[in-house]
Amino acid sequence: MKKKWISAISGLAVGVLASTVFFGDFSPKQPTSTASAKTNAEKVYVPFGEKDEYYLFASGGHSGQLFVYGVPSLRRIRTVPVFSLDSATGYGWDEHSKKMLGGYTWGDLHHPALSETNGDYDGKYLFATDVANSRAAVMDLKTFTVKDIISVPNTSGPHCAAFVTENTEYLFLPTRFAVPLGDKYESLDDYSTKYRGVMSAVTFDENEQKLNIAYQVALPPWSYDLSDAGKKVSKDWAVITTYNTEEATTNLEINASKEDRDFIVLFNWRELEKMVKEGKYDTVEGQKVIFPEKHEGGIYLIPVAKSPHGVDVTPDGKRFIASGKLAPLLTVFSFEKAFKAIENKEFAGERNGIPILKYESVMEREVNPENALGPLHTQFDDKGMAYTTMFISSEVVKWDPNTGEVLDRVPVQYSPGHSVAAEGDTVSPDGKYLVSLNKLAKDSYLSVGPSHPESMQLIDISGKMEVIQSAPVDPEPHYGQMIKADKIKTIEVYPKDEKNPYAVFNQKDTRIVRKGNEVHVYGIAMRSKFIFDAKAKRPDVIEVNEGDKVFIHLTNIDRDEDITHGFAINKYNINIEVQPGQTNTVEFVADKAGTYPIYCTNFCSALHQEMTGYLLVKPKQ
């Protein structure tokens, strides 16, 4: 009995052993689907029905527009007009946008900056500045439309703006060009005494959706280049790079590159705020302007390798990294050391009434990756590692700000200005992607003649850096911000604003009201008709007299997703847009007698072609 039992067990054991030997798989287990096993095409492919992980907001430079891309696909999703007229959206023809643009037909959009809460993007607003005409704009990320634009007096070309403080208390607009206060005439021979590089502190009122200038600082007549606000320990502080401390007035290429050192301006905006409260300012052109030579405190200079461009605060807020455009090295500075030096008043003299901190007492280390030339701009990943674009050697270099050790580098095509990492300038970067914004795309895409497109390259930074996607771009995205897509909460339809006196929500309420030589049209647009006066014989006709001032208030009563209407009048140079549920107004003088067809410009339905009407302008008797 016992024997039988043993032989059964041993028989079974032999069987298992034999089958394992012959059929067992001893090869190392292969993970089936890891990121590293994916091809680059798979990594960037976003199938229809799925959406990108990030929004990339890229400045459109002198197009005056903002480009919105999806990452990782690099598909352009939208072009938002900010400082330029845009006939595709009627921007610049309706009253609100016309007023905001203030007569300018273009702008040079620089450095979009997302609003922040506790140093992290909150997805509510995006700010941008206009270098051409010294303006600042705010875009609402619920609708991706511009809500307000302000002109900034006493200043010219806020290039290194906008950058926002940790809780969007301020966005600062330091200027690229020094000009006399109030845009007055002053001889260039008096440059050093009469010219100023003014920095403006702008606030945003969310309820009123208005930008305001809180105060300005009359910095010395230098060119201010890039800037960043502090975070965490350094949250009350901000840093700006400046060049032309030579105060040259001609041939800057040579004359602003003479000195070996330029400066970083380090300032404490809490202290400046306090100075304004205490009345330590002069009023110039209606602005409260702090003159550092009259009221000391809050502003310091730190020497830096000549003609610096980027200055970027590390995610932990402890350091700031400056890149010398013409000096092939990066300098890591310590906020803590700077604070200590300020406390101990370790100054190495002063310039224009502003104390200069000693380079050695603020500097932590110099980093000089071999053969890397033209460091411009630094972004960060989730581990605090730095990624710096090298404009001249056309590459992105990854390095460790704690040790200065170079960790990785990848070539890009060609000449990267800025780069943007996923949430790469917040307190908590995502560390997944980095987009290199390249100035030249030579031979990368189908030729469109001598002027090539610019180029964006997506770099996977989750492991070893690798360029995984390239896309041609209109001129000229040179700065960007990348935010996690789920942080942005757009609306699909404008909420019914019952208080808006110009809105009409029911066709029956449409009417044309005449007041002297003013004609007010309260009309609606719906699929697929305009109704300007429901009781008229022809409800889609506006009849006025030559010389009348005409106001057309148009409400899109199609409160249905994606049903936008346009409104254009032939030969009257009028073209506006009404998004679902929106009320918009256009105002013009009917100064040409005649018959002018009106039509819907934005395809709305199968009967879009029939969505027309007439403007009849009766000639003067």
Partner: protein, 187 residues
């Protein structure tokens, strides 16, 4: 007929029916859902005894292409008095439960059944009215049609699905609860 008092349990069952009738006021009774290629998420008309809900404006916007009159709460006078009728019915049911009189219950059931049929007829009448009185001026001409009170239908690019909803089922349940005592106490 001998005067027969209904049992306490029957009275409780009838009271339950009264509660159901009253509560049904707060639930949708009937609805229609439209699905088309460009509306994969569907558009809804949801009918409560006193209001319309759903994507009425959007549906009206689309219906004007085929010349259908726009829906609105004003176009259905029933919505203004139906809550009172239903409320009264709930109160009446409660009274019947309290009286515990079989003849009253009979009467109530007859009123209830008649009312229910009238309601169904009314709904049908509206469906015929909206589906067949299409404007001659409509940009898109289609054959007049009657959407079903219950079930699927196809009209142009829309698949419509009509259905009874919570409130109607509560009324149905109330009706069964009213019949239950008769069956329970049958001789």
């Amino acid at each position: 007929m001998k005067k027969a008092k209904l049992s306490i349990s029957s009275a409780l069952i009838i009271s339950c029916a009264a509660v159901l009738i009253g509560a049904s006021l707060f639930f949708p009774w009937w609805g229609m859902r439209f699905v088309a290629p460009q509306y994969p998420e569907g558009l809804d008309i949801i009918v409560y005894p006193n209001k319309l809900k759903g994507n009425i404006d959007i549906i009206n916007g689309l219906n004007h292409y085929i010349g259908m009159k726009p829906f609105s709460e004003e176009s259905f006078p029933e919505l203004s008095y139906l809550p009172y009728v239903i409320g009264a019915l709930a109160v009446l049911t409660l009274v019947v439960a309290w009286l515990r009189d079989k003849r009253w219950l009979f009467g109530l059931i007859i009123v209830f059944a008649f009312g229910g049929l009238l309601g169904l007829y009314d709904l049908h009448r509206w469906l015929v009215d909206f589906g067949t009185n299409l404007s001659d001026d409509a940009p898109i001409k289609i054959e007049p049609f009657v959407p079903p009170m219950f079930g699927e239908n196809r009209i142009a690019n829309f698949v419509t699905n009509s259905y009874f909803s919570t409130g109607a089922y509560m009324i149905g349940a109330a009706f069964l609860l009213l019949i239950l005592p008769l069956w329970k106490e049958r001789k």
